[in-house]
């Protein structure tokens, strides 16, 4: 190990980058079971090493990759595979919009890099930080986002490779399937700060469960849309009552 740079000597953006790396590090845990499983099932499904790696590197979106692979195994039409997988990713348009107030002023090429790295873990971790620290400058926010992505992205890609080569998934008895729900809940729970957040989360859960049978992520989109509207309306209603 090299010596860690002293915090006092670092520029604010460097500090933000290292803070992001620290906050992103736990999510490498999540990449282990899911990256390996994706590697294993993509080879089982008949993809070559290059195709499986290409998938992971070009798309980097676990849920959509699994959805696409499932449909490919069933020999669905190419158009349907694409439509379903992209529907699973549509929630990320909401992520993209949510980042505008924080990162909109950054140069276009930086925003394009962020877009490539904008998935659940990086988005939620970064937006939580931006909300908690409104004084952050745009370069600090950028650096933080890249910091969060730094440990997560290579481990997701690397673990896919391990899965391809090892060809063996982690035994189910380890219950690693539940790492993902635990991590997502752990990310979102600290963000529940007001009655409006509670109401939004409750609507998200109930609509999400009610529409679970709808194809490829469309139920989740409706759940998320209704939950956002609920949160915003509760907020407006509370402001009116306070006046």
């Amino acid at each position: 190990m090299t010596s860690t740079p002293k915090t006092a000597e670092m520029s604010p953006a460097r500090k933000a980058y290292f803070a992001g790396m620290r906050d992103g590090a736990p999510f490498t845990l999540m990449a282990v079971p899911f990256g390996i499983v994706f590697g294993v099932i993509s080879i089982d499904a008949g993809l070559t090493l290059a195709q499986a790696m290409g998938f992971t590197i070009l798309v980097i979106a676990g849920a959509a990759q699994f959805a696409a692979l499932q449909l490919m195994v069933e020999n669905a039409s190419i158009a349907f595979v694409l439509l379903a997988a992209l529907a699973v990713n549509l929630r990320m348009a909401m992520y993209s919009a949510s980042l505008v107030p924080y990162l909109g002023a950054a140069p276009l090429w930086q925003r394009a890099c962020i877009a490539y790295l904008n998935f659940d873990q990086t988005f939620i971790t970064s937006i939580a930080r931006y909300e908690a620290r409104p004084e952050m400058t745009v370069p600090e926010r950028m650096a933080y986002f890249f910091g969060v992505a730094t440990p997560i992205t290579p481990s997701w890609i690397g673990m896919t490779f391990v899965g391809i080569v090892a060809g063996k998934a982690i035994p189910e008895a380890w219950a690693l399937d539940f790492i993902m729900p635990i991590m997502f809940l752990a990310m979102v729970a600290p963000m529940i700060k007001s009655f409006a957040h509670v109401a939004a989360a409750a609507v998200s859960v109930s609509v999400g469960l009610a529409l679970v049978g709808m194809p490829a992520g469309t139920g989740l989109l409706i759940a998320a849309g209704s939950a956002m509207l609920t949160g915003a309306l509760v907020e407006v209603w509370q402001e009116r009552r306070a006046q």
Binding site: A85, A97, I114, A115, I124, I182, F184, A227, M228, G231
Partner: protein, 111 residues
């Protein structure tokens, strides 16, 4: 799977481009132009609107148990949320949830 190599690469590349465009969409096109106040209000709820709905089915009907309700996983989920709300710390919530999961699995294995 009966696709040709070219078809598989078509799927991968279009999915990659499509996913990028979805992620780039608003951030890329709006830039630093101001957004309407109500839209900003809506967007403040994105994380709490997306993640709970995404996770709820996995908690109630876990994939590993073929969709059969599992009290152990339910307990772990509840512990994660409570610790997360209480400590406001992602790491503690993950640790608390994982410890609950494996402790409860250990106890049920002994019974």
């Amino acid at each position: 799977m009966t696709y040709t190599t070219a078809e598989i690469w078509t799927i991968i590349v279009i999915m990659g481009i499509g996913t990028f465009l979805i992620r780039f969409s608003f951030l890329g096109l709006i830039g630093d132009r101001p957004m309407p106040a109500f839209v900003l209000r809506l967007l403040r709820y994105t994380p709490v609107a997306v993640l709970p709905g995404m996770v709820a089915p996995l908690v109630l009907w876990p994939v590993a148990t073929d969709g059969v309700f599992d009290p152990v996983r339910m307990m772990a989920a509840i512990a994660t949320v409570l610790i997360g709300v209480w400590t406001r710390n992602v790491l503690w919530a993950i640790i608390g949830g994982a410890v609950t999961l494996y402790a409860a699995m250990g106890i049920t294995a002994l019974i």
